[in-house]
Symmetry: C2
Subunit: 306 residues, 2 copies
């Protein structure tokens, strides 16, 4: 069958797009690796999504699931590896060799944690090296840990971990940490968190599990060692856009470039919403707004071509 619309991804943008599209009576396939995207992994409560004074990431994902169900929507689990457009029909291919067809596609594939690319990172992944403090944090009760990255994600991770661990060292490459004022304040008043700036991580060491992280102090070029049981990598995200091939233009960060009024990419009928695109800020409420806009734009496109 040919769907009206395939939505790739089921994070805030994908869920919002699906809710809007189904209210336009479109036939929809939601195709995603997971439900909730980064929201499902958020280490601290969400306090900036309008309508909720405070809600945990997993709780918000549960509400997404309920809302999808109430709209008779379900998510087909699958990792998209390629997409083509022929004779005005899109074919979306998944890693398990399935192929799905639709008149229009909205890409809300989000972003993946960036790696630091140092010796030991790959070897100890899942053995002390983590990209999800919410998933793994409680395991490090009363241990010393390091967080790599001094942006909002790094600071939020440090604050979250401080509830469990003995100490957190935040290693920031730059001269100063870029986390916002609120997070800076939370970290500053937390005696268990220390922020080390000018720190370039050089390796992660251990036997079976992580035992230490090394960094070069960029001010004096000296290498230093910190004994830690865990390393949480929070240096940002890379957009998941490799599968899009030449159907879209990407910027230098591999983010999808779009028409900001409609969210359409350079390929007619192919739209993008959320963290995989060039929007300056990656926020749940903004991704949600974009999902809705992409759905209404897709609806107009489908009505025009079919």
């Amino acid at each position: 069958m040919t769907y009206d619309l395939i939505i790739i991804g089921a994070g805030p943008a994908g869920v919002s797009a699906a809710v809007y599209a189904t209210r336009q009576k479109l036939s929809i396939l939601m195709l995603s690796k997971d439900i909730g995207g980064q929201v499902a992994k958020k280490a601290v409560d969400i306090e900036n999504y309008p309508g909720f004074e405070k809600i945990s990431g997993p709780d918000l994902v549960d509400l997404y699931k309920k809302q999808l169900k109430a709209n008779d929507l379900s998510v087909t689990l699958g990792e998209v590896v390629g997409i083509e457009k022929n004779d005005n029909i899109f074919s979306v291919k998944t890693v398990d060799d399935k192929e799905y067809k639709a008149i229009s596609v909205i890409v809300t594939s989000g972003a993946e944690s960036k790696l630091i690319h140092v010796p030991g990172e790959e070897e100890f992944a899942g053995k002390g090296v983590s990209y999800c403090s919410l998933c793994d944090g409680p395991v490090f009760k009363n241990k010393d840990v390091a967080v790599v990255g001094g942006g909002n994600n790094g600071f939020e991770t440090a604050v979250f971990l401080s509830n469990y661990v003995k100490s957190v060292k935040v290693l920031e490459y730059g001269e100063k940490a870029n986390a916002d004022a609120e997070n800076q304040e939370l970290v500053a008043k937390n005696p268990n968190i220390e922020v080390i700036t000018n720190a370039q991580v050089t390796k992660i060491e251990g036997k079976v599990f992580v035992s230490a992280i090394y960094y070069e102090d960029r001010a004096n070029k000296k290498e230093k060692k910190i004994d830690v049981s865990g390393v949480f990598v929070e240096i940002g995200y890379s957009p998941s856009t490799n599968f899009l091939g030449n159907l879209v233009d990407l910027n230098e960060k591999n983010e999808v470039i779009f028409n900001s009024e409609t969210l359409e990419t350079k390929t007619p009928g192919l739209f993008s919403a959320g963290d995989c695109n060039v929007s300056r800020y990656k926020q749940i409420v903004m991704a949600s707004g974009q999902g809705a806009l992409a759905a209404l734009s897709a609806y107009n496109y489908i009505r025009k071509v079919s």
Copy 2:
């Protein structure tokens, strides 16, 4: 005192902007005629705001109020009548002759119901002519009413009213009603609602209260009369942008034109979010996303100039 930021309006865009701005530790004045804007007047439950399967407008506004309170934010009630920028400081004047100063301003003043401008409309406003079915609908229990306008607002109003009234006639000027598929279906299966297209409303008649509405059938130019006790005007909204003077450029609908990446208007430091601007769709989740974006853009502006 000079605030970092004045936010004009306290609907979805204004609330979202305030929550984001306060997390950046900005000093904020929220200035608005009301809290919740159009959301407070919504006649049917909201089913397309991500995170809520279904929520009434007033309930969502209550959640906004709670969230503002949790962030130590309050709304100063006041109607803005003018705004100026001198020496990089904005002065915002209200109808009661007060003046407030700030480094940056976000305009989220939303939109007001459009009038049909026919004889009787002004005379019977509040006496059968209504622009808020949620506020006034229950008064018309077991009566016959008309809804002017066949867009989503008109159809939703008709469906809402059908719970109370004996019959609803929807009068649509165009050849077909523009409401979306979901609303068309709801109306089609409701025996108490009739949609009349090609209908140009000509006057509203009554003694103390409304007793009839007249329209010209545009197909045959004949005037027809319908006996009704209530007329609900739902022909759309006009942006509340008159007070902005020459600080902004407006499009032909009087909507604020902005840079779509930052939401900044032509005046540096003056931003716009929500229904008062040129965005194609007016949706709660989109206004919320824009509020957040405007706040972060304003923060960058304030950091740069102060």
